[in-house]
C-alpha cells in the first residue's frame, strides 16, 4: 500500500491529533490556535490536491481510491479550509472550546473523506456515523439561549432515525444478495428486479444520505439546525457535507440502474417534492439562515435530478453542480458571517445598506445569490442547465418543466435578499471593515463563480473522467 493513496486521510488524522493536543491546554490561546488551524488546513488542501490522481483499493477492497473519490476529497479539504477562513471571529463559541471546534471539524472531514471512498456497506455506515457524530457535537457547541440545544437534539434525533432506516435498508440488501461489497451486489441485483425487496432496501439505505442532503422527507432538521448552529458550523454543513452526500448518493444510486424505471420514479417524486417544498416555504422566511436552509432543501431536489438519470451525463452534471454548490453557497455564507461579525443570526432585513457598508461584500452576495438562483454567467446557471439537459436526454420532460418553474419561484426570494442589500439603507449602520485576506477571498470566489460559469469545460472534463469510475 502506497502511503499516498491513503494520504489525505492520514494527514487529517495527524491534524486531528494536533488539535486534540491543543485542546488539552489549560489556558486557551485563541489567536495561535486559529493560525495553526488555518495553516494546517491550507496545507491539507495542497496534500489532497497532490493525491488527486491516486488510484488503488485498500482494506480488503472495502475502500477504493479513484478520481471520483479524490475530487470529492479535494472539495472537502477546500470546504474545511474555506470554513476556517471565516472562523477568525468565533464570537458565539467559548474561547476554551475553540480547539475542540477545529478538532471536530477535522474529524467530520475525515469521516466524509472515508465516506466518498467506501465501496462496502459497513464501511459506508461507519464512515457516515463518524462524520455525523462530530457534527452532532458541533451543532450545540454554540453559546446560545436554548436554540442551540434544540437544534442539536433535533439534528441528533432525525440523524439517528435516518441511520435506523439506512441500517434496515442495508439489511435488506445484504439479505437479498449475501454480500456487502457494492461491486458484488451490482451483478446480483438483476435477479431481484421482480421483487420489491431490492427497490425498498435500496431506497431505505439511501435514507442516511437523504438526511445529509436534506431531501424530503428527511429535511425537518435543516431550518432549525441552520439557524441554531454557529454560522461557521452551518457553513460547513451547508457546503462540504452536501458534497459528500452527493458523492455517496451517486455511488449507491448506480446500483439502481438495473431497476430502471421504478427506482428512478421514486427518486423523481422525492426530487419534485423537495424542490417545490423548499422553494415555496423559503418565500416566507425572515431569517437569512432559515432561508438558506429551505434553499438547500430545494437544491437537494436539483441534485436528485442528476442522480436519477442514472446516466453518465447526469452524473457529470451532478458532480459539477455539487462542486458549484459548494463554492456558491460558501460565498453567501461568507458574506453572512462577515456581516454578522458578532455571530448572531442574521435577519434578511439586517442586510440593509450593504451596498454602502461594503460594496465588495454586496457584490459577492449578489454573485452568490444569483448563482444559487441559476442566473448566468455563473456556475449555478451552467450547472442547473446541464442537470436539466441530462434529464431531458432521458426523456424526463415534466421533471425539467417543473424544475424550470421552480427556478422562477426561487428567484422571488433570492431577489428579496438582493432587494434588502441593494435598495434599503440604514444610515445608522457603519461601514464594514474587511481584512486583507477576506478581501482576497472575495475576489477569488467571484472569479471562480463567474469564470467556471462561462468556461465550464475543464470541470466538466474532470467530472467526466471521475464518473467513469462509478458507472
Amino acid at each position: 500500500m502506497n502511503v499516498m493513496t491513503f494520504g489525505p486521510e492520514l494527514y487529517y488524522l495527524a491534524v486531528a491529533l494536533v488539535f486534540f493536543a491543543l485542546s488539552l491546554r489549560r489556558e486557551a490561546k485563541v489567536v495561535t490556535d486559529y493560525q495553526v488551524a488555518l495553516v494546517l488546513t491550507a496545507l491539507g488542501v495542497v496534500v489532497t490536491a497532490a493525491c488527486l490522481f491516486q488510484q488503488g483499493e485498500l482494506f480488503f477492497k472495502a475502500y477504493r481510491v479513484d478520481l471520483f473519490s479524490q475530487i470529492f476529497k479535494f472539495a472537502l479539504a477546500l470546504g474545511l479550509f474555506l470554513v476556517l477562513t471565516i472562523s477568525h471571529n468565533l464570537a458565539h463559541i467559548e474561547a476554551r472550546l475553540h480547539a475542540e471546534f477545529y478538532l471536530f471539524l477535522t474529524t467530520t472531514t475525515i469521516g466524509m473523506m472515508m465516506l466518498v471512498s467506501s465501496v462496502e456497506l459497513l464501511t459506508i455506515y461507519v464512515a457516515l456515523e463518524l462524520s455525523s457524530y462530530s457534527l452532532y457535537i458541533l451543532v450545540p457547541m454554540r453559546r446560545g439561549d436554548g436554540i442551540d440545544v434544540e437544534a442539536g437534539i433535533k439534528y441528533l434525533f432525525i440523524g439517528a432515525v435516518s441511520s435506523g432506516f439506512m441500517l434496515f435498508g442495508l439489511s435488506y440488501i445484504f439479505g437479498a444478495t449475501h454480500t456487502t461489497y457494492l461491486s458484488e451486489i451490482l451483478p446480483r441485483l438483476p435477479l431481484l428486479v421482480a421483487s420489491p425487496i431490492g427497490v425498498l432496501g435500496l431506497l431505505l439505505s439511501l435514507a442516511g444520505f437523504f438526511f445529509k442532503l436534506s431531501v424530503f422527507p428527511f429535511h425537518f432538521w435543516a431550518p432549525d439546525v441552520y439557524q441554531g448552529a454557529a454560522n461557521q458550523v452551518t457553513a460547513f454543513i451547508a457546503t462540504a457535507s452536501k458534497a459528500a452526500a452527493v458523492a455517496l448518493l451517486l455511488r449507491l444510486a448506480a446500483l439502481g440502474t438495473s431497476y430502471g424505471y421504478g427506482f428512478a420514479q421514486a427518486l423523481m417524486i422525492l426530487s419534485i417534492i423537495s424542490m417545490t417544498l423548499g422553494n415555496l416555504v423559503a418565500i416566507v422566511q425572515k431569517d437569512f439562515k432559515r432561508l438558506l436552509a429551505y434553499s438547500s432543501i430545494a437544491h437537494a431536489g436539483y441534485f436528485l435530478i442528476g442522480i436519477l438519470t442514472l446516466q453518465e451525463t447526469g452524473y457529470i452534471a451532478a458532480v459539477y453542480y455539487a462542486l458549484a454548490y459548494l463554492v456558491m453557497n460558501f460565498t453567501v455564507f461568507m458574506v453572512l458571517s462577515e456581516v454578522a461579525a458578532d455571530g448572531r443570526d442574521l435577519k434578511i432585513a439586517e442586510l440593509a445598506g450593504l451596498h454602502r457598508r461594503s460594496p465588495l461584500l454586496s457584490m459577492s452576495l449578489i454573485v452568490g445569490i444569483f448563482a444559487l438562483a441559476g442566473v448566468p454567467p455563473s456556475i449555478g446557471f451552467t450547472g442547473k442547465l446541464l442537470l436539466f439537459t441530462s434529464a431531458m436526454n432521458q426523456g424526463y420532460f415534466w421533471l425539467v418543466l417543473i424544475g424550470a418553474v421552480n427556478g422562477t419561484i426561487s428567484l422571488y426570494y433570492y431577489l428579496k435578499v438582493v432587494y434588502a442589500a441593494y435598495f434599503i439603507d440604514n444610515p445608522a449602520l457603519p461601514p464594514l471593515q474587511l481584512s486583507g485576506p477576506i478581501r482576497l477571498l472575495n475576489y477569488a470566489l467571484i472569479v471562480v463563480v463567474l469564470g467556471f460559469g462561462v468556461f465550464p469545460d475543464r470541470i466538466v472534463e474532470l467530472a467526466k473522467a471521475a464518473v467513469k469510475a462509478v458507472l
Binding site: L385, A404, V405, K464
Partner: protein, 490 residues
C-alpha cells in the same frame, strides 16, 4: 447556411467591449464620475463602431453567415461559442450599438450611484449583443438571461413610479418565460439526437411534427413574454414607466426585440412545422395586441405609459409580420424591430429629458411645452410622427411591408391592424397637441432648452430614422438577403 470565417474577431471584440469597460469601472473610485462615464462611452462607442463596420461590410452578394467565429466550450454537451452575422441580425446589432451609445450619452447627468449604474448597464448590453450574434442555443439562452436580470437592479435603484412593484413583476414575468424556454430548447436538443446546441446543425435534424408543435408553442410563449405578446404584455408598460431613462431606451428599444428575434431565430427556424401549425394563433394574438395597445394608450395621461402601450402595439406589428411567414412579412418585421427600437429610444430619451427637469410626465400639466423647450419638444414630436407611420421615417416602410404581407395572408387581421394604426395616429396627435401646443404651464417657464451636447444622442437617433426613411433599400436589401434563404429552408 454557408459560413465564412472571420479574418479578425470583430464580433468577439464587439461583445467584449462592454464587459471590458465594466471591469475597468470596478477599479475606478465612485467619485470619479466623469471618468466613469467616459469609460462607459468608449466601451459603448467601440461596440457601435464595430456594429457599423459589420453592417456596412457585410457582403450581400456572398450571403450566408459572415464574420463567423467558433470555439468549443463544453465538448461533452456539444456547447460551442459560435457567432456570426447575416442579414437578420446585422440591423439588430447596429440597433443595439446605437441605443447603448445614445443611452450612455442620455444618462450623462446621472449623479446617484453612477458607478454601479454603468456597471449594470454594460452587463445588460453584453447579454443583448451576445443574443443577437449567437448561433449556439445554449450560449443564446445564457446571453438572453444575462440581458434580463440586471434590469431588476437597474429599475429598483434608479427607477421612478412604483419601481419596486415594477421591477419584481418584470423579473418574475421574464423568468417565468424562461421556465418555458428551458424545456423547449432542451426538448429540441435531446430529441435531435445530435448532442449539439449548434442551431445550424439542429436545423437539419428534421424533428417530428409533434415535437415541433410542442417546442414551438413553448418557445413562442416563453420568448413572447419578452416581446410583449398579448396577453403577456402587462409587465411592459409598468416596467418602462418605472425604469430610468436609458434603461427604458434599452428595454423598449432593444430588449423586447430579443423576444421577437428569438421567436424568429429559434422557434421558427428550428420548428417550421410547429410554426405552420400555430401561425394563425400568432397572428390573432398579434392583432389583439395591436388594437389593444392603441386603445389603452388612448386613455393614458402619463407620457411614459403612452409610449409603453404604443410599444405593445408596435411589437404586435413585428409579431404580425412574423406570423405571415412570407418574404415581405419577415422583411417588414425585422425592419420594424430596428425602426421601432430607434423610435422608442428617441421617445424615452426625450421624455426623460423633460421629466428630469419638470418631474412630471402628465400630458395636461405639460400643456404648451413646445414654447418653453422647442428643441426638446421637437424630439418627442418627431418620434410621435414616426410612431404614426409618417412617410420619410424608417417605420413607414417597415409597417407598409408588414401590412402588405398581412392583407394577403390574413385579410381581416390586416384590415383591423391598419384601422388600429389610423386610430394610433389620432392618439399620437392628441398627445402631441395636449402636451406641446396648449397653453404653457407657468411653473415651467424658467427651464432652459436642450444644450447641443445633451441633444446629441437624440440627434443621432433622429438622423438614423430619417436616413433609413429616405434610403430604406439599404436595410431592406440586407434583410432580404437573409430572409429569402431563411424561408426556403423552412
Amino acid at each position: 447556411m454557408v459560413e465564412h470565417a472571420a479574418d479578425f474577431p470583430y464580433l468577439t471584440c464587439m461583445l467584449l467591449a462592454p464587459p471590458t469597460g465594466l471591469v475597468i469601472l470596478l477599479f475606478l473610485k465612485q467619485e470619479w464620475k466623469f471618468l466613469i462615464k467616459a469609460v462607459s462611452l468608449v466601451a459603448a462607442g467601440t461596440s457601435l463602431g464595430l456594429a457599423i463596420f459589420t453592417f456596412v461590410s457585410y457582403d450581400k452578394a456572398l450571403g450566408g453567415l459572415q464574420f463567423v467565429e467558433k470555439y468549443e466550450m463544453v465538448k461533452t454537451f456539444g456547447i460551442t461559442y459560435f457567432v456570426g452575422v447575416e442579414g437578420l441580425n446585422a440591423p439588430l446589432l447596429l440597433l443595439t450599438g446605437i441605443v447603448i451609445f445614445t443611452g450612455v450619452l442620455t444618462m450623462w447627468e446621472l449623479e446617484e450611484r453612477t458607478k454601479e449604474y454603468f456597471i449594470w448597464m454594460l452587463a445588460l448590453v453584453t447579454g443583448v449583443f451576445g443574443v443577437f450574434m449567437s448561433y449556439d442555443m445554449f450560449m443564446f439562452f445564457l446571453f438572453y438571461e444575462i440581458a434580463v436580470v440586471p434590469m431588476y437592479i437597474l429599475i429598483l435603484v434608479w427607477g421612478s413610479t412604483r419601481k419596486e412593484y415594477a421591477a419584481m413583476k418584470l423579473t418574475l414575468y421574464l423568468m417565468a418565460g424562461s421556465g418555458l424556454i428551458i424545456p423547449g430548447i432542451l426538448l429540441l436538443y435531446s430529441s435531435s439526437g445530435l448532442a449539439t446546441f449548434n442551431m445550424l446543425a439542429l436545423h437539419g435534424a428534421h424533428f417530428s411534427p409533434w415535437i415541433q408543435k410542442v417546442a414551438f408553442v413553448m418557445l413562442f410563449f416563453g420568448f413572447g413574454v419578452l416581446a410583449a405578446v398579448w396577453p403577456f404584455h402587462t409587465w411592459s408598460p409598468v416596467g418602462h414607466v418605472a425604469a430610468p431613462t436609458a434603461v427604458s431606451m434599452l428595454h423598449a428599444g432593444v430588449l423586447m426585440k430579443l423576444g421577437s428575434f428569438a421567436i424568429l431565430r429559434v422557434a421558427m427556424y428550428l420548428c417550421p412545422a410547429g410554426f405552420q401549425y400555430w401561425m394563425t394563433l400568432m397572428a390573432l394574438l398579434a392583432t389583439i395586441g395591436i388594437v389593444y395597445g392603441v386603445f389603452v394608450g388612448l386613455a393614458q395621461t402619463d407620457l411614459k405609459y403612452v409610449i409603453g402601450y404604443s410599444s405593445v402595439s408596435h411589437m404586435g406589428i413585428v409579431c404580425l409580420g412574423l406570423s405571415t411567414g412570407t418574404v415581405d412579412g419577415l422583411n417588414g418585421s425585422v425592419f420594424q424591430m430596428f425602426a421601432h427600437g430607434i423610435m422608442t429610444a428617441l421617445f424615452f430619451s426625450s421624455v426623460g429629458y423633460i421629466y428630469d427637469r419638470t418631474h412630471t410626465r402628465d400630458i395636461h400639466e405639460l400643456g404648451g411645452f413646445s414654447r418653453i423647450m422647442p428643441v426638446a419638444s421637437a424630439f418627442f414630436i418627431t418620434a410621435a410622427l414616426c410612431g404614426a407611420g409618417v412617410p420619410g421615417m424608417a417605420s413607414f416602410w417597415a409597417e407598409l411591408l408588414v401590412f402588405i404581407a398581412t392583407v394577403k395572408v390574413y385579410p381581416i387581421a390586416g384590415l383591423l391592424a391598419i384601422a388600429a394604426l389610423v386610430v394610433g395616429a389620432l392618439f399620437a396627435l392628441r398627445v402631441v397637441q395636449n402636451s406641446f401646443y396648449n397653453e404653457p404651464n407657468p411653473k415651467f417657464t424658467h427651464f432652459e432648452d436642450v444644450s447641443p451636447f445633451l441633444g446629441l444622442p437624440r440627434m443621432i437617433l433622429i438622423g438614423t430614422l430619417i436616413l433609413f426613411g429616405f434610403f430604406p433599400q439599404i436595410m431592406i436589401g440586407l434583410i432580404k438577403s437573409a430572409v429569402v434563404p431563411f424561408l426556403q429552408g423552412m
